[in-house]
């Protein structure tokens, strides 16, 4: 049996029929911790990510803007989350995420998928430079200047393959 499945739930709210797709692992909704890293207050993007994740059936723990890397890791531990999705728009992530390997090693987080996306460099930078850099920090998936839905599709595909 595939432990990961996408199920459809239909329900009615104010006489409107709503179809909701829920991503589950062994019958449980997948948990995602998300937020904006560093001194970055791009709250609109953060809300869009939150809404998009919920629409895809994830259980979302949104830490909001101005979040430190340690807070992200701690939230994953407290919630036993499956995915950590960090976003950054002003490029500060490059400095803030260097300690990811160290913080990961503090806890047993082998099953957690680490994702980062947004604008991951200050100024111009090529994908071919940015992606390996962030992977060396310990991220499984890196999306530099990539459309939100494309990134989320990729996360779903990655999680499905891993399961």
């Amino acid at each position: 049996m595939n432990p990961l499945q996408k199920i459809c739930v239909n329900y009615t709210f104010n006489n409107v029929k709503i179809e909701c797709k829920i991503i589950q692992i062994l019958g449980q909704s997948m948990k995602v911790v998300t937020g904006v890293v560093g001194n970055d207050i791009h709250v609109v993007a953060n809300r869009l990510i939150d809404i998009s994740l919920q629409a895809r059936g994830f259980e979302v723990f949104n830490l909001g803007v101005n979040t430190s890397l340690e807070e992200f890791i701690d939230a994953v531990v407290e919630t036993d989350a499956d995915i950590l999705l960090i976003s950054s728009l002003n490029g500060e992530a490059e400095g803030w995420c260097r300690d990811l390997q160290f913080l990961r090693s503090e806890y047993d987080l082998r099953d957690v998928v680490f994702v980062i996306g947004g604008n991951l460099a200050v100024g111009e930078a090529a994908q071919s430079d940015i992606v390996p850099k962030y992977k060396s920090y310990g991220f499984d998936l890196v999306f530099h200047q990539i459309d939100l839905n494309t990134g989320l599709d990729e996360i779903e595909r990655f999680v499905k393959e891993r399961a």
């Binding site: 723990f61 830490l63 909001g64 430190s68 340690e70 807070e71 890791i73 701690d74 939230a75 531990v77 407290e78 919630t79 036993d80 503090e106 806890y107």
Partner: protein, 400 residues
């Protein structure tokens, strides 16, 4: 008929009537009740028991050890609730490092265990029980994920289980724990043999002094020229309490009150003199500060009025240092945003405004790298305490 307000401190009794405040140095050979009756018995005769209100800080508060799953949530939330309940945190243990952590050598009044949102299980395991075997404690409370309750209760029969302080959205929910700790603190005050007898004088509940002071803070601008954000520093004989506007903290915790408090149990100029001197000698700025005050370190060994003044000045410096960004062990206040510092307690009877100003200038220049200092307000007549006592009568707290 007017009211009589009494504060039982570790060093002085303060008695407030309509005619003014008087204070009496305690006789440590007598118990509190006998001493109070000897000194103020004739005053009590003029009041009914219902009109006498007492608060006490003589026991210095309870101590706690917190064991939590992470720094950013479990430990941060539990620390905030404990501080606000007037509890002194003697240590915090990050659960992932519990095997390397040493158990405290002293008796702990209450151990708090916290971790995980409801819905996740197996957060705690045998490591916790092994560690607790070496801890001497009077109470133990669990405020973590529901899923671990039966496992922990089976192993720790005396465990008190309360609602999880971490909500499903990773926010703090401190109501039950705060109530439990405040009641424990209250029971500790009332349970003290000395304090128990004070109910022969009053028909009203005896409260802790930090609690009373904290209640007066929203009203403080009625009596003083205070601009928010402000802090109130109450330096006494045994303890130092700091009450601060939450605008000075950036920790994403939403709390009901606009003011939090922190109690430093062993930072006082009389009963805790030795620990104050010890803390001073270990501070990197102190020798420079002593030189700035034109004294040498020998002053710390002296028993003189001058030495007392220096100790008072040091205690202001140390308390600000302990909440500054240089000391991450405690709550970090953004002292660069501070507009007013209000000093109350025994310190206002010893130090002049100018002496306090000197210390503030030194602290802001050396530690904060700022030339401007906050406005200093001296509460010479314990008006904050009086305000809190009067305000407390009209608004009985829910949790006490």
């Amino acid at each position: 008929m007017s009211k009589l307000l009494i504060d039982v401190g570790s060093t002085y009794f303060k008695v407030c009537q309509t005619s003014g405040i008087s204070q009496y140095f305690r006789d440590f050979k007598k118990d509190i009740y006998d001493d109070l009756i000897t000194k103020c018995g004739n005053i009590f005769a003029n009041y009914k028991k219902e009109d006498i209100f007492i608060c006490s800080s003589a026991n210095g508060g309870l101590s706690t050890l917190i064991i939590g799953l992470t720094n950013s949530f479990s430990l941060k939330f539990a620390k905030n609730i404990a501080f606000n309940s007037g509890i002194n945190i003697i240590d915090t243990i990050l659960y992932s490092k519990i095997e390397e952590s040493r158990a405290p050598s002293e008796l702990v009044d209450v151990v708090i265990i916290v971790g995980g949102i409801d819905g996740i299980g197996k957060v705690f395991d045998e490591k916790l029980f092994y560690y607790l075997k070496n801890v001497q404690y009077s109470n133990i409370v669990y405020v973590g994920t529901k899923q671990d309750v039966s496992f922990l209760s089976a192993q720790i029969p005396e465990l008190k289980v309360l609602g999880n302080i971490i909500t499903e959205k990773l926010h703090v929910n401190g109501g039950e724990l705060k109530e439990y700790l405040t009641n424990l603190y209250q029971a500790d005050i009332v349970g003290k043999e000395d304090i128990k007898h004070l109910y022969e004088i009053t028909a009203n509940q005896i409260y802790s002094t930090p609690y009373i002071v904290n209640r007066s803070l929203p009203l403080i601008d009625a009596n003083f020229e205070v601009v928010n954000p402000f802090i109130v520093v109450d330096i006494g004989g045994a303890t130092t309490d700091i009450h601060y506007s939450r605008d000075l903290v950036r920790d994403n915790i939403v709390s009901e009150s606009g003011y939090d408090r922190l109690v430093f149990k062993k930072l006082g100029v009389f009963k805790s003199r030795e620990t104050l001197i010890f803390a001073a000698k270990n501070n990197e700025f102190v020798y420079e500060l002593l030189s700035y005050l034109n004294v040498t370190e020998n002053i710390l060994e002296e028993e003189s009025e001058k030495a007392l003044r220096i100790l008072m000045q040091l205690s202001i410096f140390l308390v600000l240092y302990k909440v500054s960004r240089l000391n991450p062990l405690y709550v970090t206040l953004h002292l660069d945003l501070l507009n007013t510092i209000v000093l109350t307690g025994g310190i206002t009877k010893v130090l002049s405004y100018e002496e306090v100003e000197m210390i503030m200038q030194f602290f802001y220049k050396k530690v904060m790298n700022l030339h401007a200092t906050p406005n200093i307000v001296m509460d010479y007549d314990y008006a904050i305490w009086t305000l809190g006592m009067e305000n407390n009568e009209s608004k009985e707290p829910k949790c006490l």
